[in-house]
Every structure is written in C-alpha cells, then in structure tokens.
Amino acid sequence: MSLSKFSDKLFSRAALRGIFAICVFMVLWEVGARSEQWFGYRFPFVGLVPPPTDVLVSWSGLIGDAGYWHSWYKSFLRVFGGFTAAMLIGIPLGLIMAVNKSCYGIIFPTFEVLRPIPPLAWVPASIIFWPTQELSIAFVTFLGAFYTIVINVLGGAKSINKQFIQAALSMGASQWDIFRRIVLPATLPSIVVGSAVGMGITWEVVVAAEMISGGGASGGAGGGLGFFIWSSYVGGSYEQIIVGMFSIGIAGYISSELIRQLGGKFTPWLKTR
C-alpha cells in the first residue's frame, strides 16, 4: 500500500466514523467513571470502573516495564505454539477424514464426543497429565484451535464441487494429483477461515488457562497476559486490569490480521471476486 493510499484510507468516511465512535465511547466512559467525583452521584456499573485517563497513565508507566512485555511474549509464545500444533495436526486430520471413508468412520465419532468438551474443562486434567505447567497451558491452547480447524477443513474438503473431481479424472489425473491440485486448493479458503476463528479461540483459552494455572512455574512477570490481569486483580490495581484486557484485545487483533494477510497470500483467486 502506498503512502497516499494509506492516508486516503485513514481519512476515509468509514475510518473517521470509527474514530468518532471510539472518541464518544471514551468520553462516556470517562464521565461515567468520574460521576461520583464530578456530580456527587455514582452511575451504576460504570461508576466502579477506573476512568480511561487513569488507565492510560497506568499504561504509559508500563510501556518501559520489561515484565509487562514479557507477559506479552509469554502469551504470544503459547498462542502460536498451540496454534501451530493445531494446524500441523488438524489440517492433515481433517483432510484424511474427508478423503478416506474408513478413516472418517474410525476418527469422527471419537472426535465428535471430545469436541463439545470446552478446552477449559481440560485444564485440571492436563495439569495432571503433562509434566510441566507450561506444557499443560500449551495443550489447552492447542485444543482451542484444533477442533475449529479440523471441522472447517473437513467441511471444506467434503463440499468440493463434484464436477472439479470428474473434470480432473477425465483429463487423466491421478489420485495424488487430484489431491494435491484440486482437493488441497479447494479446501484452502476453509483452512484460512478455520485458522482465523481458531486463532480467536486460542486467545480466549490461553488467558483463562493462565489465570487458572497461575501462569507457569516462574509466576509473576513470567505468567503471560492472563496472569497479568489476575495478579492485578489480586493486587487491587484496577487500572492494570483494564490495561491487561486491552492488551489482549490488541494482541488478538494483531494475530488475526496476521492470519488474514497470510491467508490472502495463499488464496489469491478469492481477492478477484
């Protein structure tokens, strides 16, 4: 994107609308949070929340703090570790179930029984099963993305237009060629969608897992963003809770955008629609 295009986009009507909405939200929040101080009457709910200016002050104090960034680093590591594992195992599993009927018959029932179990329900069990706290968090994170990826790959690969396969067959293509050049690219859009959704779930799960498990053996600063929020709560620093929440929002957005950009590179034909 060139600079002028970027500035066009930045000052487009849609972008300005978005910026305006965020500003209004901030003002309402500030007024609500300071209601007791300003009007002598505390607004319900929002009156207990620290005002955005305080949050920003608290945040600016953390920008130079190595521990805060280490929390980011830890959570990212877990998210991408679990997510990569989910891709590496989930994509082939989904594809093999779509292509091979007996594999489908063997794997799918087990898969469907395990799928409704929320990843967080796995936390106690995985703390017992896995030798280290770190591995049990990674495992729970993995589960968050795994089911979504498998289901999307399976659905995508099964819904391939039958005529594509027939056309390839009548041109003399081998089974392997059909898999590599028809089934795989036809499934790619579903893989990208599954990954984007899975990435979102991964962030939800990693934060909860960090809160529950106490954030790893090193504790404190080594605990990731989930633990950062939890320890802020325990320590009574309400501004930092909000900082932690927004940090996760930003981190999740960056991750999803990364997946979308990468997905776009792999599926160039979709952009032409």
Binding site: Q163, Q166, A167, M171, G172, I182, A186, P268, W269, T272
Partner: protein
C-alpha cells in the same frame, strides 16, 4: 519466424483432425436408490454417437440426459446394457472422452493458462509441445489477454471458451458437452453457437452435445436424438441436412430448418406434457384438450 509459426499452426490444426471414434449405447438401463425408493432414470435406451459427426441430444428438462452423460463418460456404470467406444466397453473415465459440464468446472484457483495446462501437467506431459499447443489454443479461443486471470475475472462466454481450450488440449476422440451454454445471455449464447460450430467444422471430430434448447439443437446438429420423458429412452433420430457452414442470421429463413423445428417441437411437446402432468391421466387429458383449443 513468421513461416515457422504458420507451419506449427497448420501442424497443430492438423493434429486435431485425425480421431475417428464411435460410441454405441445398447439397451442400457439405470435407476437410483434402492427398494421402494428406487427411481428408474434410463430404460432400455439405445443410440449411436456416430464418428466425425455432431450428435445433439434433446429432451424435456429433467429427463435423465445428465445421467446418460455420467454413464458415457464412465463416472458411473449402467445397471444393464452396454456402452462401447470403438467396440471396446467403457469401464471408467478417460481422456478419450472429455466432458464439458453445465456449470463452469474451471478450477477457480488456477489462472486461464494453468487451467488449460491442467491435463498435460496431470499426465506428466508438461513439455515444450504441450506449451506450444496451449499457446495455440489460447489464441484460438481469443483469451491471450486473459492468460493470467482467474476464472472469476472472465465473463460467462470467456469461461466457456477457456473450458473448450482446456478440453481440446487433451485431443479427446469424443467431446461430450452437457448444456454448455446454459445460463449465458441470448447474445453470448448465439455467438457461442457460431464459435463452437466453427470449431467443429474445422476438424469434424466426434461431438456429443446435450441441450434443452431447440434452436441450439437444430443450428448445431448433424444428427438429432430426441429423448422421451422419464424413464429416458430414444424417441426418434432426425438427420439435420442443412448445409454447413451455417449462419445464425440465415437459419431463421431456412425452410428446411423451420420444417425440422416444427417436427421437433411437436415431439418434444408430447414428452414435456407427460412430464408436466406427472403421470396423471386427468392432468394429461386436460393439457391435451387445452393445447388443442389453444393451438
């Protein structure tokens, strides 16, 4: 340079006009489903797709023509009866019988060029000769400027031409086309008729073309097969003896064409009424009486 290009163009064109193949369908039947839910689609159907002729099959919509294509292409096998190509029974799909489907089956993730080259690459024939042939066909279908575009970026007519090129590069002995121009607007449809007829007249390979459009059938066909309503069998065969090359603007004034059209319409009308009345005697009688009064 110029002469070599011309030579190779001639050679390419020549390489298309050697096939001579005949498909014979004998007493085939096909039903889908089991037990009480079984539905007979094709019954005791026989016809011949004659060598080096353009055979068009026409019948009321939903009469099982697509099923016949699945059988001839070898994607499915008949319950009884035989289908042979040059005397040998058909056992599965093969590049000697290429199918152009109703909806575009161009691979959306491949550019025009990659789509055309799919067949040769799939068979490990990604060599200079195939590339040269693909270049020739790309030019022939007028899509040189759209070589690196994805199917989504092409118009309906362009997609059909790209698909023709993708099929022709495999030098099929028989080309099977299942309502290929359905869904195109009238203007592009007529252009495609002329274009396709031109391609056929160049090499006179064996072509099998399925349609529900009477004008299309008469304009294109050497032989016209009229099918019955479900379960399908062959109702009649008409030799269309209108000289080639045919032209869209002239065919409307051609007496022979109009005569054939009237005949085909009468036959198809009878079959369509059976389909419309859904086997109900009362409905059929009503329709019959109504159409006599209206006619």
């Amino acid at each position: 340079m110029n002469t070599t290009t011309e030579d190779s163009t001639k050679r390419r064109a020549a390489s298309f006009s050697q096939a001579s193949s005949e498909i014979v369908v004998t007493n085939i039947s096909k039903s889908y489903g089991a037990g009480p839910f079984s539905k007979q689609i094709v019954t005791d159907c026989s016809f011949t797709i004659e060598s080096n002729k353009l055979t068009v099959m026409i019948g009321p919509s939903g009469c099982g023509k697509s099923t016949l294509i699945q059988l001839i292409a070898g994607f499915e096998s008949p319950d009884s009866g035989t289908i042979t190509m040059n005397g040998k029974p058909i056992t599965g799909p093969g590049k000697d019988r290429l199918v152009l489907f109703q909806e575009s089956a161009l691979f959306p993730w491949m550019t025009t060029w990659d789509n055309i080259m799919y067949g040769p690459r799939a068979r490990g024939e990604d060599d200079a000769e195939s590339v040269e042939l693909a270049e020739f066909l790309l030019k022939k279908v007028g899509l040189e400027a759209f070589r690196d575009k994805y199917p989504q970026q092409l118009s309906g007519g362009m997609q059909r031409r790209a698909e023709l090129a993708r099929a022709m590069i495999n030098k099929p002995e028989v080309m099977i086309l299942d309502e290929p121009f359905r869904g195109l607007d009238n203007m592009s449809k007529e252009l495609m008729w002329e274009y396709y007829a031109g391609l056929y007249e160049e090499d006179r390979n064996t072509n099998f073309f399925v349609t529900t459009d009477i004008d299309e059938a008469i304009f294109l066909a050497d032989r016209l097969l009229i099918m019955t309503n479900l379960p399908t069998s062959t109702r009649s065969v008409i030799e269309i003896d209108i000289p080639r090359p045919r032209r869209i603007d002239a065919i409307g004034d051609n007496d022979r064409a109009n005569e054939i059209k009237a005949e085909v319409m009468t036959q198809l009308h009878e079959e369509a009424m059976k389909s419309f009345s859904g086997g109900s005697k009362a409905a059929a009688d009503f329709l019959d009486a109504y159409s006599k009064r209206a006619g």
